[in-house]
């Protein structure tokens, strides 16, 4: 059955399913590759229409090989998820070249579901629910149409067949929702991944990187996508306290700040809870890295994370899916009242032969301000009073980056200020480290959560001071208080790009509230939330086995209900178009006082009508005879005529 060539319609639906499923993947891959895949689909469609035969195997093989080579080149030989999905798309497009049998079509249609699922590894935004719905519907329609062909339905080109296929696919899909939801809420979730996730996934997903080189191109500030959302148990902290701690950078090689070798060492300091402790929940968008963002200083984090010696919260695995964690932070904690010698050395180290002017300035300042605190205040006020600007369109820096910035350019964004400040401090003998993370966030008053965007990325410094330990100093705040108070957007003149409009921004903020709900109830549903959910339903803390048993139980119930609906007995309806016309005619006669008795055959009744209504009787007798022939004979061609004539039959009283 599988050997005959697939007709146009199932091919068209299958290609539609594939294209819809591949749409986000196509958008993410190099344009020429996407164009090639679309071209393959177009060719296949034309082949189905024009009844072309498949290209020779050699050509197919060569094209596929070429495409794979090009993928390897385009992705630089790096094996990431994008590479894998691009490869899958190319393989399917190659399959397209040979899908001349129903089996090939089925394969492509069903792998469309797989393509849809893989897209969610990259983004699970609310928008993609529509993608899921449309993609699965079209794939199901394709499968139904393929089955129609296999079932030997010859009239599959009829317009009604299309509607029927869409209807039955929609029913199938809608009826699968109860089962899907049951499984979704009750399928036991893993507390930890089955296999290790790669530490570095080269997908180029935007997010905070683990190093900082002022002057390198940074796109984060233009990226309005959410980085994470925070719900507080009490009131949110004041704006100037919203510093979300990310990677802490100690090592500087003259251009780049990086994390030191000891940054994964667990903290030995116990952070107690204090009066000012904050309890909050962070919903972190996947960013492929291990760090989780916290307010200073995390008291305790989730089970799957550790707190490092410089108070970063590190997840054991890269965050590849929306992650939700609860935190307690104590902002009043004093970090390292005594600085160990090793840490002091690491926090003072500067590369040789870089930034001579800055070093000279630091020495001059040192001479003028013997006290650390005075020196810091002097530098900050210098930033404030001198002509320093905050701008996102800063020039790249050369070998003596801090010198160029401090004395020549005098314009830059937070990374410039943090780096230059840290260099000055170290040169002046004050232990300093750079902290990157996010600052601020938009308080969504209606839904009570704080939205932190990628554009809120920030860098600041921490200096070690006698008596107060590591102390946060944000040089950017000295230059541009607006940046801290109102966020990065406020300090930019004019729109960053064409669609950067205020009303659009408001709309985006509203949409983000929906997104937040979605994240909270659907995407953030994990092992812990599943247990919470079951506890809310009044079930005690269940083991995984028990949850599985519960799932099977509910699944049986739900499937039972679904099958009651699907298997309900449809009563035999004899009211085809012919019968409807016949019965309408009988009703019209009844209005004229002629009722067909149950035991009368149509012809007997016709005889009675002929006697009562001589003017119409003849016509009715002929119609009754046709009706009998349709029912008891095999003359289907009478049906349309009969219906027409029966509709035109209007008996009048003689």
């Amino acid at each position: 059955m599988n050997s005959h060539q697939a007709p146009l319609r199932p091919v068209a639906w299958t290609i539609a399913a594939f294209i819809i499923a591949a749409l986000p993947h196509l958008a993410a891959m190099p344009a020429w590759l996407a164009a090639g895949i679309v071209a393959a689909c177009g060719w296949r469609l034309a082949a189905a229409w024009r009844h072309w035969s498949p290209p020779p195997a050699i050509l197919r093989l060569a094209l596929t090989g070429l495409a794979i080579t090009l993928i390897v080149l385009a992705f630089g030989g790096l094996w990431g998820r994008r590479t894998a999905t691009a490869l899958l798309c190319v393989m399917l497009a190659a399959k397209m070249m040979e899908m001349f049998t129903l089996r090939d079509l089925r394969l492509v249609a069903s792998v469309s579901f797989f393509l849809i699922a893989t897209q969610f590894l990259f983004s699970e935004r609310l928008l993609y629910l529509g993608y899921l719905a449309v993609g699965s519907l079209v794939a199901t329609i394709a499968l139904v149409r393929i089955q129609n062909v296999e079932a030997g339905e010859t009239d599959s080109a009829a317009p009604g067949a299309e509607v029927q296929a869409i209807g039955s696919a929609a029913t199938l899909l809608l009826m699968s929702v109860p089962v899907a939801l049951t499984l979704f809420f009750l399928f036991p979730r893993l507390a930890q991944p089955l296999w290790g996730l790669p530490d570095q996934v080269m997908d180029g997903r935007s997010g905070l990187s683990d190093d900082m080189s002022p002057g390198s191109i940074s796109n984060l500030f233009l990226d309005d996508s959410p980085a994470f959302r925070v719900e507080f148990d009490g009131p949110p902290p004041p704006v100037d306290q919203r510093y979300w701690r990310g990677p802490v950078l100690w090592d500087f090689d003259g251009t780049t700040w990086t994390r030191p070798f000891f940054s994964d060492t667990p903290s030995r300091q116990f952070v107690p809870e204090g009066d000012a402790s904050l309890t909050y929940t962070v919903q972190l968008e996947p960013h492929e890295r291990r760090w989780l963002f916290t307010l200073d200083y995390p008291v305790r984090g989730p089970e799957q994370a550790l707190i490092t010696v410089d108070h970063q919260l590190l997840s054991r695995h890269p965050v590849t899916a929306l992650t939700r964690y609860e935190l307690v932070s104590n902002p009043e904690f004093i970090d390292m009242p005594d600085l160990p010698e090793g840490a002091r050395a690491a926090a003072l180290r500067l590369p040789e032969g870089r930034n001579p002017r800055s070093l000279a300035l630091a020495e001059e300042l040192r001479a003028r301000h013997p006290d650390h605190r005075d020196l810091i205040a002097a530098v900050l006020s210098w930033f404030r009073t001198e002509e320093y600007f905050y701008t996102l369109s800063a020039s790249p820096l050369g070998r003596h980056g801090a010198d160029e910035f401090l004395f020549d350019l005098r314009a830059g964004y937070c990374e410039y200020y943090a780096s230059a400040f840290a260099i000055l401090m170290r040169a002046a003998g004050i232990p300093t480290r750079v902290v990157t993370g996010y600052q601020g966030g938009l308080w969504q008053a209606g839904s009570d959560y704080l939205l932190v965007r990628q554009s809120d990325a920030h860098a600041w410094t921490e200096v070690w001071l006698e008596g107060s330990g590591w102390t946060r100093v944000d040089p950017t705040a000295a230059v541009s208080p607006d940046r801290i108070e109102q966020g990065a957007r406020s300090v930019i003149d004019g729109p960053r790009h064409r669609l950067d409009l205020d009303w659009l921004q408001t709309l985006r903020n509203r949409y983000d509230r929906l997104q937040h709900m979605w994240n909270r109830w659907v995407l953030g549903f994990d092992h812990d939330r599943q247990r919470q959910f079951l506890q809310k339903l009044g079930l005690p803390d269940l083991s995984t086995e028990r949850i599985a048993a519960l799932m099977l139980l509910v699944l049986t119930l739900v499937t039972g209900l679904v099958s009651l609906f699907l298997l309900r007995r449809a009563r035999p309806r004899s009211t085809g178009a012919v019968d409807r016309a016949w019965h309408a005619m009988l009703r019209r006669l009844q209005r004229r006082g002629l009722r067909k008795r149950l035991e009368e055959t149509p012809l007997e009744f016709a005889a009675r009508v002929e006697a009562a209504l001589p003017a119409h009787g003849g016509a009715f007798r002929r119609l009754a005879a046709t009706y009998c022939r349709i029912h008891y004979g095999d003359q289907a061609e009478h049906e349309a005529d009969f219906i027409d004539q029966a509709k035109g039959f209007t008996p009048r009283r003689a």
């Binding site: 059955m1 089996r103 089925r106 394969l107 069903s110 579901f113 797989f114 849809i116 699922a117 893989t118 969610f120 590894l121 699970e124 993609y128 629910l129 899921l132 699965s136 199901t140 499968l143 139904v144 393929i146 089955q147 296999e150 079932a151 030997g152 339905e153 039955s168 199938l172 899909l173 009826m175 699968s176 929702v177 109860p178 089962v179 899907a180 939801l181 499984l183 979704f184 399928f187 979730r189 893993l190 991944p193 089955l194 996730l197 590849t320 899916a321 929306l322 992650t323 659907v522 995407l523 994990d526 679904v562 099958s563 699907l566 298997l567 007995r569 449809a570 009563r571 035999p572 309806r573």
Partner: protein
């Protein structure tokens, strides 16, 4: 060869097969007329179904590992789709009626058309049904409350009763993930007549001369053949007086066919190296005699059939030839 194999089903079945057949038979009636219910309907994934299952497993593992909830939702939607398609495959067979089956006799080597009548008592159309009998498949559909007569071709090889193999009525609706099927044994065996010999020798004219027995059994002279209008020259004793009186015209007995023209087709007298060849020759003779409107008597060992020349006689003879041990 499946037909030949299954024709001998009763004889040389292997034990597991026999056990399986008995198990199937225990689950419900197997011969038409029957209404298919859940005890007779079996469902298994098709190859495509297994493939999708594999795909689902990959999606499940990936989504669980990355704790990717939308991926999981997609997986579970596919799972729901599969479970529904299983129900619909079942629904497509549930309460389907196989009313009767039968095939007109054919000569060995010809293709018998096994006609199977099915009815859909429900109010739901059943599309994509298929009857599979001995490697032959025939798709059909049933409108609500409708009937269908499906013809499945059966190849025949040997004369005798051909028990059609166990047939399946099956469906892969709605998306080809699952195959639901039911087994049934066609109600009646098919009679397969012997294959007529290709170049049979001429009819054994005057066979009576060879052993003289024919004269003994029918000693009197000319045989009555039919009545016809009296013609001048007809002898008086040929006039059929009583019939003439009834019809008000003079009728005469037509004795143009003398008794010696009646054929005796005897198995023992038929040429041929073995029994089968003889039977094939006899079959050809019987057919020729019938075509030539001649009366014949068939003698198979101790049994004698006829004389006769009509259709019924022909069929009796063919049946006897088909079933001759």
């Amino acid at each position: 060869m499946a037909t030949a194999d299954s024709a001998r089903l009763g004889a040389d079945q292997r034990a597991p097969r026999r056990w399986f057949d008995r198990w199937i038979a225990r689950r419900g009636p197997m011969r038409p007329p029957l209404t298919l219910r859940y005890r007779q309907i079996f469902i298994l994934p098709t190859r495509f179904g297994w493939l999708l299952g594999l795909l689902m497993f990959a999606m499940l593992m990936g989504s669980l590992n990355f704790n990717n909830n939308l991926g999981l939702l997609t997986t579970f939607i596919v799972a729901g789709l599969a479970s529904n398609s299983m129900l619909i495959a079942y629904r497509n067979l549930d309460r389907l009626q196989i009313q009767r089956s039968g095939a007109a006799p054919v000569f060995a080597g010809q293709t018998a058309q096994l006609l199977i009548s099915l009815a859909n008592p429900g109010g739901r159309a059943r599309a994509g049904l298929e009857i599979a009998c001995a490697e032959r498949r025939q798709t059909f559909a049933l409108p609500p409350g409708g009937f269908a007569e499906v013809a499945v071709a059966l190849t025949t090889h040997h004369r005798g009763w051909l028990q059609p193999p166990r047939c399946r009525v099956q469906t892969r609706q709605p998306i080809g993930l699952f195959q639901a099927w039911s087994w049934f044994w066609p109600e009646r065996p098919v009679l397969v007549w012997p294959q007529p010999a290709d170049h049979p020798p001429a009819l054994p004219e005057g066979g009576a001369d060879q052993d003289g027995r024919q004269d003994q059994r029918q000693p009197d002279g000319d045989e009555f053949f039919s009545l016809r209008g009296w013609r001048e020259g007809d002898p008086l004793h040929r006039v059929a007086w009583k019939a003439s009186q009834r019809h008000n015209t003079l009728l005469a007995r037509d004795l143009r066919q003398p008794r010696s023209r009646q054929l005796l087709l005897d198995l023992e007298q038929a040429p041929g190296r073995d029994l089968e060849e003889k039977i094939r020759v006899l079959t050809a003779w019987v057919l020729t005699a019938h075509r030539q409107h001649r009366a014949w008597t068939l003698r198979l060992g101790p049994d004698t059939i006829g004389p006769g020349s009509d259709e019924a006689h022909l069929h009796n003879c063919l049946k006897a030839l088909a079933l001759f041990p």
